[in-house]
Point group: C3
Chain length 258, copies 3
């Protein structure tokens, strides 16, 4: 199984699929292709949430603001799974999410004959020309044999960290990590701070807000804090945008008192 994640929208992911299907019969699964453009942090957050639910797979993730520069292209081995993408940190939080805090990392040699479409007339589509054939080849070789692939060499990857929240007494301070497409502001505060408080009010940056198990716990248009599928505290509005109602965006500080 090979999963595909990008910020390409349409139809570029189909070119990657064509390249892969030309080389392997693997099952392909789309994770997301409309992620915010050129934001490795947001992609890393979602991949960390979603990939652990998959069986062992080769996970392709092309969120690559440095395409065309000399940034490395990576294959990271996380047990029975592999992560393939640019060396900007996007692969490391999901590797940790899969249980591999210190995974083996390999740099791809894009000038190897395994990548016949690279170079040429100046076009730059590493998703199609480097990452897709690499994913097909790693799938065909088997993740456990990745070390033997001749166009890979060990390297020290870039990393990307999400800040830890500050939990003391009955107060949690953290920040907004991502805003999803519905406007829910996902913080780094773990959901268990709201355990046993559902149905009560907590203070969010000093203002009282109901803590609810579900959006439907408040009337449409009203604010709440809840716990998303990712297990973190979300600032939300039932049938509305939490980011606007709370006046927050990625990186905003959030203090929850309970």
């Amino acid at each position: 199984m090979i999963t595909l994640t990008s910020d390409f929208g349409e139809p570029y992911p189909a070119a990657m699929k064509g390249v892969i299907y030309s080389r392997t019969d693997a099952r392909l699964v789309d994770v997301a292709h409309n992620l915010p453009r050129q934001e490795p942090r947001t992609a890393a957050f979602w991949l960390r949430e979603v990939l652990p639910w998959f069986p062992p797979a080769v996970h392709l993730a092309v969120i690559d603001p440095g395409v065309g520069t000399d940034r490395q292209a990576l294959v990271i081995r996380a047990g029975d799974s592999a992560l393939i993408g640019p060396d900007n940190g996007v692969l490391m939080p999901p590797a940790r999410g899969l249980g591999y805090p210190d995974p083996e990392a390999f740099a791809i040699d894009p000038d190897h004959e395994a990548f016949p479409a690279t170079g040429g007339e100046g076009s730059t589509f590493d998703g199609r020309d480097v990452f897709a054939p690499a994913a097909a080849a790693v799938h065909e070789a088997g993740v456990e044999k990745v070390r033997k692939i001749e166009w890979l060499s060990e390297t020290d990857p870039e990393d990307l960290w999400f800040p830890d929240p500050d939990l003391r007494g009955r107060e949690a301070s953290g920040e907004v990590l991502v805003v999803d497409r519905f406007g829910n502001a996902v913080t780094n505060v773990p959901g268990d701070v709201l355990m046993d408080r559902f149905g009560e009010e907590v203070a969010v940056n000093g203002t009282a807000v109901p803590a609810e198990r579900s959006y439907a716990g408040v009337e449409p248009g009203h604010r709440l804090v809840t716990v998303g599928g990712h297990g973190n505290v979300e600032l939300a509005v039932n049938a509305g945008r939490g980011d606007e109602a709370f006046g927050v965006g990625v990186g905003s500080e959030v203090t929850i008192s309970y």
Copy 2:
């Protein structure tokens, strides 16, 4: 085969797919994931239109404004197919569309050990933690054996009905059921009222409008009534938005005289 429908956008459906692929080798097919948020009626309309074109399958439909409340989670058997989703009526119009006006319905026990990811730290993602494993299990057991699944018990499901149009003489009165993403206002008036009128004008809420077999029957920007792929009368604009041009939305009354 398992089909997936939701209002989740990206990347949450991928978590459901990972859970399913961890339990079964079934073929997965996306029906839609960008449906209007928390609108069981709109989802029910589209599922009723689309699902009858599929071979027998397990159809997962997670449009669930009551997630986190005590609403039931259902498995509905419609012959060789099953529908799985929340008990808010969304599954019943497609069950009728599949030819089962009075289907067997079962409530899922989410606290059964078949659903290990439920409960825990307060997170609420029944699509991933209840509905996806239920769909995989029903697929693996076989729809005809659904009655033997130990975490299912018979129940009486919520229902959801689309209003019938009022047809008399040369006038049909109905309402707008859904507005599609292009702005076409889909009514509950059956397309056959326009049979033999194509190329002529009819009156829509008192105003003359051409009845055409296709959008191209009028100039771009001009209004028309036509029959959509669903077989109902649509209020449309060629290369424009019918809902705005006709001043209608979901629930608006529409009278067509012909």
Copy 3:
């Protein structure tokens, strides 16, 4: 393998998939379903770029502003692959992209019993009722046997051409062919005019602009010319919209001096 391309958004492509899966076990691959509405030229451009990366396949492409009119429905044979869609030219540039400038073309008889859902109560959904069953049937028969299918007859297809650029000396004149969803204005000027100029400035319609291998070659918000994955010159803005910054749209003239 059958690929699917349309401007239908959701959920109509799923009805096509249901029809196909009811008739064949082929692997289905989505190319794009959110293409600009009723623009065969844009679809033809992207299909020409993407389809050559696929292994032999049946390629279904339903961008069909003439649906419901008497325009023909086509099967075009391009070697081991087939292209199926309306007779408005959309299939011909991808046929050339696959290496078949003068392909065999056949008209589908939609009144044949192979298409039981056509006609009826005035509904018009040829994607589901004609093109999808035709694609399944061609896949099942095998592309090499397409000539023997009884509901096909030879025809002379409509065509659609992209203009050639005018290259002389150190100046290339062309036009914008498509604008992608990010606002990148893709021209018909071949990327090799920028070869050896990366890192320097060129003149675009008389104004100096940096030529860069990647968007990251300029600061966010700044203009550049680069070469897209399609191999053509793009007018772009790093993390912004090139069409707006350069004041161009589809058909705008672009002269690049270098």
